[in-house]
Structure formats: C-alpha cells, structure tokens
C-alpha cells in the first residue's frame, strides 16, 4: 500500500533561528501586535510503499533521523501518516 507522511523539521529549542526572528520582526513591523513568536521550519511530504501504516511510519521516522534532520540544531515530528 502507498502511504503519505508529513514531516515537520524545526530548530531545536535554544538554537538561534535567524529566519524565524526575521519573520517575527517583520510581523511586528506590519502591526501584528498579537504575534508573540515565530520559528521557521520546513515540512516534507514523503510517499512510501509499505505493508501497513506502522511500517510506513517506521520508514519515515528513520528518514527523519538519518537524512531530514541535523540533530545538532534541529528536531522533527511526523505530523501525519495517511493512506495516499
């Protein structure tokens, strides 16, 4: 079966995020007084052929750890895995 997973990669807590800070400053400059923080991340949509959802999720987790993320500065979460 084919599954589609969505992976979100974001800067780890405590790691400076110049892109997020710049967007946050721009939001302030545009008058968004209620916006209190922005972190810049990146998402990946991964299509996987696997026997079941568990197996697809395992593959996506491994990909997240090995390739999609630099663990020194980033963390990731799998937002969803659905039948494609």
């Amino acid at each position: 079966m084919r599954f589609q997973g969505v992976v979100l990669v974001q800067p780890k807590e405590g790691i400076a995020d110049p892109e997020g800070s710049t967007i946050y400053d721009a939001a302030g400059a545009l008058g968004y007084s209620g916006v209190v923080g922005v972190r810049a991340g990146r998402s990946f949509i991964v299509d996987v052929d696997a026997n079941d959802e568990e197996a697809a999720r395992r593959t996506i987790m491994r990909l997240g750890e090995e390739l999609l993320t630099n663990p020194v500065i980033q963390r990731f979460s799998v937002l969803s895995v659905d039948v494609a």
């Binding site: 110049p18 710049t22 020194v72």
Partner: protein
C-alpha cells in the same frame, strides 16, 4: 617524493581546481577524486573544497555526506589521516559527524562575500603548525551558512581542549565563540569557513609567505 593530496569533488563543488592548483604550486601533488570513488588510493591527505554540493539542497553537506567517497573519507579519518574541509567541505564534515557542531544560516541572513581578519587560536592543528597563537591573517569568506553552532557542552570542550583553530577578529556571521575553524580531538581533521586557497596579496602572516595554512597542511606527516 612529494605528497599526494586527494581533492574531492561532488556535483556542485566549485573550488576543486583552485585548491588543486594551489596545492601543486606549493609542492604537493593534487589528485582530483570524485564523489563516486570508493577508495582514496594512496593519498597522504584529503581536502574537501568549497562550493555548493548537491545544490545545498536540504542542508549544505547533508546529501554529499552519503556519497560513496565519504565512506572512504570516514575510514581515512578514523585511521588518523589528515583531512581539511573548506567552506562547504567544513559543512560536509559536520554533517558527517567527523567534526562536532553545525553551520547555520548567517545571523543577518545574508550571503557574505568579503575578506575577513582571522586570528590563530592554536598551533596544535594540521593547518597552523607553523604559525604562532595570535597571528593575524586575512582570508576571503564566501558563504550563507557559516554561523558555527553547537551545544554548550561541545563549546566548552572545544575551548578546554584547545580545538578552536581560527577565530574571526570581527565576527561576520554570528558564529559561537567567533569560531572560523576547528579541529577534532584526534587533531587530524580540520574544518574552516574561510578559503585558504584564495589567499590574496594581503596576507599578514608574520613570515610573510602565502598559503601558510595549506603549506602546513601538506607537510603534516
């Protein structure tokens, strides 16, 4: 017999010929090796030059580290072989886990291409053996992701064990501890963001000769 320096190239590397040219001018033999090589032949040292390997897709160096040649480089490094990563080469070495930390986007989010002043922070590295601590030199930088980052434990380790090789005099990119170059605990692997192969006429080393860092590197053994 002169030493053989393997100069690696990946798709998108663009400084390999400059590095090879300078390496030959200062008395070593440069041997270009591409990303598909599975063995380094009989090189005495390896340089990973700058550029944009794999278009910097995902993260700089993130894809290059999985090239066949990198397995050979990792083995070479583990056996104590001298490795120097310049700019994108430094990014590849951190992605591969051969050097600690990571290189993030510059603090001001701009690509920086300028000459910077550096200060030698240790003599205990393959590129600074002939330079005294405190020696100033000027080299070009040319990067978007040169902002050296690591956790505070790693930063402490780098400082305590004297593993910081070069520091910026005036930090251009937000690097922790003004770090421009580091070495590993085995002291055989060095990564630096500035380009020693592009050293211009402004070299300010105390003995006044050009390419002192690379001269040191090619005579490490």
């Amino acid at each position: 017999m002169s030493r053989v320096i393997g100069v690696l190239s990946f798709p998108g590397t663009n400084c390999e010929f400059d590095v090879a040219e300078v390496v030959s001018r200062i008395g070593a033999n440069a041997k270009l090796l591409n990303h598909r090589s599975t063995d380094l032949k009989d090189v005495d040292g390896v340089i990973l030059p700058g550029g944009f390997s794999y278009g910097d897709y995902l993260r700089p160096g993130a894809v290059a580290r999985f090239s066949p040649v990198m397995r050979a480089v990792e083995d070479f490094g583990r056996r104590g072989g001298p490795i120097l990563g310049i700019c994108n080469g430094f990014q590849i070495l951190t992605e591969a886990g051969l050097l600690p930390g990571a290189l993030q986007k510059n603090r001001n989010l701009s690509f920086i291409c300028e000459e910077v002043e550096l200060v030698v922070a240790t003599q205990q590295s393959s590129i600074t053996r002939t330079l005294k601590v405190g020696t100033r030199l000027r080299l070009p930088i040319n990067h978007f992701e040169g902002n050296y980052t690591c956790d505070t434990d790693t930063e402490r380790l780098l400082v305590e064990r004297d593993l910081v090789v070069l520091r910026y005099v005036s930090n251009p990119n937000g690097s922790m501890n003004d770090i421009a170059g580091i070495t590993n605990e085995g002291r055989n692997i060095v990564g630096m963001m500035p380009h020693p192969e592009r050293e211009g006429i402004h070299f300010a080393g105390e003995n006044g000769s050009r390419y002192e860092l690379l001269r040191s590197f090619i005579s490490t053994w």
